[in-house]
């Protein structure tokens, strides 16, 4: 993956909407053939970045290069990209086949070639049987497929997707996540996808850029983002995270002891390599709910940390039990325990227990 050529290269891109910076010096590069997602809450500036790549908005500063070519002053109809709109924006007066044929027709492709390309594109999204329907006669999922085919038929260097699954219901959305990924593999082009849905971004993408308030906070593989978030925002936005704020009291090799005002004792953590932590540094310790275990035993195995707690609330969700456990006056953590033993009743509210985890599972952020 690493030595693959760059598809999109964005350098310190800025877009202002009045006085606010909608996009604040965004730099990123997307590799050829990659499924890349821009993830963030609404208003993070991700759609602006996408629209600037497509050419519908002009950057105030910075450059966009696609396959090495600068996109400055190149109008949308001359860019080697195609955008799939959130609302699909299918032409209501044209049939499915005519919608898909629109791009090749505008490029002046010969009639015979148009027909075969439309067939290939519809085949790719598995919609060959509905060629003659009008968009209004299709379901939401089918409209989505038409929009995809209409973009892919042009063989773009980059396919841009704006919240591609947001208009679909939950069931269909999960199906389409898998489907989109395999369509991308079949089409073999670069996908850049904007979404606010973290699960969507994680399942589909090779790499994800998390955006917040116009800035890119972190770029990495889904695993990087989940396992080693570099900011509390990323940790909170991707998955659920338990947090503990504290001060480093003592450093012992790669271990540190952190004391928190919310806890009576101290906790041991493993410091990530190269983190410039000193005694007295303020840190936030992050722990994922599924990395925590509940036990009646106070003493853990070696390399484990244990804290006394009491069960506050139990939420049963079928495959898991979610426990809210209280560790201190102001400190409640979320623990996820897989429901892997039938008939087990688990713990109830008020039970005194111990929360245990591998010290190396904690992520440390320096404030």
């Amino acid at each position: 993956m690493v030595d693959q050529p760059t598809s999109i290269d964005i350098a310190s891109l800025v877009k202002r909407h009045g006085a606010t910076l909608a996009v604040d010096h965004v730099s990123l590069s997307v590799r050829r053939g990659e499924f890349f997602s821009l993830l963030g809450p609404s208003g993070a500036g991700k759609t602006s970045v996408l629209r600037m790549i497509a050419g519908f908005e002009t950057p105030d500063e910075g450059t966009i290069r696609i396959d090495g070519r600068s996109m400055e002053a190149v109008p949308p109809n001359r860019r080697p990209v195609n955008l799939v709109f959130q609302s699909y924006a299918l032409f209501p007066h044209l049939t499915v086949a005519e919608n898909v044929a629109f791009g090749p027709r505008m490029q002046g492709a010969p009639r015979g070639e148009i027909t075969s390309r439309v067939r290939v594109a519809l085949d790719m999204v598995k919609l060959t049987s509905k060629e003659e329907r009008l968009p209004a006669q299709l379901s939401g999922g089918e409209q989505q497929r038409v929009a995809l085919a209409r973009a892919l038929v042009n063989r773009p260097a980059v396919l841009l997707l704006d919240e591609p699954l947001s208009a679909l219901d939950q069931q269909l959305r999960q199906e389409m996540q898998v489907e989109l990924k395999s369509i991308q593999e079949r089409a073999g082009c670069t996908f850049v996808c904007v979404t606010h849905h973290q699960e969507e971004a994680l399942t589909m993408s090779d790499r994800v850029a998390v955006m917040h308030q116009g800035r890119v906070l972190q770029i990495g593989s889904p695993q990087d983002l989940y396992e080693s978030p570099t900011t509390a925002f990323v940790a909170r936005f991707i998955g659920v995270s338990n947090e503990l704020r504290g001060i480093v009291r003592r450093i012992d090799g790669d271990r540190a002891l952190v004391q928190s005002p919310d806890l009576t004792g101290e906790i041991r953590i493993v410091l990530p390599i190269h983190t410039p932590v000193r005694e007295g540094s303020a840190v936030t310790v992050l722990l994922r709910p599924e990395r925590l275990r509940l036990s009646t035993e106070a003493r853990g195995l070696s390399g484990e940390q244990s804290l006394a707690a009491s069960v506050d609330k139990v939420l049963y969700s079928g495959s898991d039990r979610h426990y809210m456990v209280r560790l201190g006056e102001r400190l409640v953590w979320n623990v996820r325990v897989p429901n892997d033993e039938s008939g087990r009743n688990g713990l109830v509210r008020g039970n005194a227990i111990h929360v245990r985890w591998q010290v190396s599972d904690a992520v440390v952020l320096i404030e």
Binding site: F85, F102, Q107
Partner: protein, 255 residues
């Protein structure tokens, strides 16, 4: 609440009666066998028959259809261009031009008739059916513009972005996306303009030259020489065809 609703209903009914009563009476008496409009002597279609034999009337009808057709086509061309062109302008200039275009709808028609007459005389254009056509096109351009713009505003602006994204130039997008989607509105506007032109009296009165008599002008001149059931029959045909056209126009616009 219920009381007020009942009242409103009765008021609306009275209103409708007042509006359509005279027209109903007019149509009813066009089937009267009597020469006198006020007395009923049984059913007859004779006035429709004499109407059909009246050469001058048929010539006037032909004039009216010609004027309505040509002025409608003219108004459609200008109105659609304006509506589409205005979309591309900035907010303030768009409003200014739009308001200026709407003036023909609000100034008294007599004023417009007189000013057109003066204009043609000043430009030394002889009055004829052509001047009538120009006059009708003038007041129909804003009608077309309003109807087409209403439809344009309802179009998803993303459709044009998609077209551009798929490689269409401005003109391609206009030809393959905007105009096809505006088609119902354009047809509806055309029918509306056609009807207005067909029914117009005042502007026609001022801009028509000798021999350029349209149907409304003919009806007026016939009334001056006394009310005959023939006029009832003619008016009945007029009312029914106008209502049919307007109905069709509204149907097309709703699509």
């Amino acid at each position: 609440m219920k009381e007020a609703g009942g009242w409103l209903w009765r008021l609306s009914l009275a209103n409708l009666l007042f509006l359509y009563g005279p027209i109903a009476v007019l149509i009813f008496f066009s089937f009267n066998a009597s020469r006198l409009s006020a007395t009923w002597q049984g059913w007859s279609l004779q006035w429709y028959r004499t109407l059909w034999a009246n050469q001058a009337l048929l010539a006037a009808a032909a004039n009216s259809l010609w004027v309505a057709t040509v002025s409608t086509l003219l108004a459609l061309m200008l109105g659609v261009c304006l509506a589409v062109g205005l979309e591309g302008l900035s907010g303030r200039r768009q409003r200014q031009i739009e308001q200026a275009m709407l003036i023909p709808l609000v100034i008294p028609e007599v004023m417009m008739g007189v000013s057109l007459l003066l204009f043609f005389v000043l430009m030394q254009v002889p009055l004829s059916l052509t001047t009538v056509i120009l006059g009708h096109a003038l007041f129909n351009v804003p009608v077309v513009m309003i109807i087409v713009r209403a439809r344009l505003r309802k179009l998803d602006p993303r459709l044009l972005e998609v077209a551009a994204d798929l490689g269409a130039s401005y003109w391609d997008a206009l030809r393959h996306v905007t105009i096809p989607l505006l088609r119902p509105a354009i047809l509806g506007a055309g029918l509306m303009a056609f009807t207005i032109s067909l029914d117009d009296f005042i502007v026609t009165f001022f801009t028509a030259g000798p021999g350029a008599t349209t149907l409304p002008l003919k009806v007026y001149s016939m009334i001056k020489s006394g009310m005959s059931p023939e006029i009832n029959a003619l008016s009945a045909l007029f009312v029914i065809s106008s209502m049919g056209l307007i109905g069709l126009s509204l149907l097309l616009q709703r699509r």
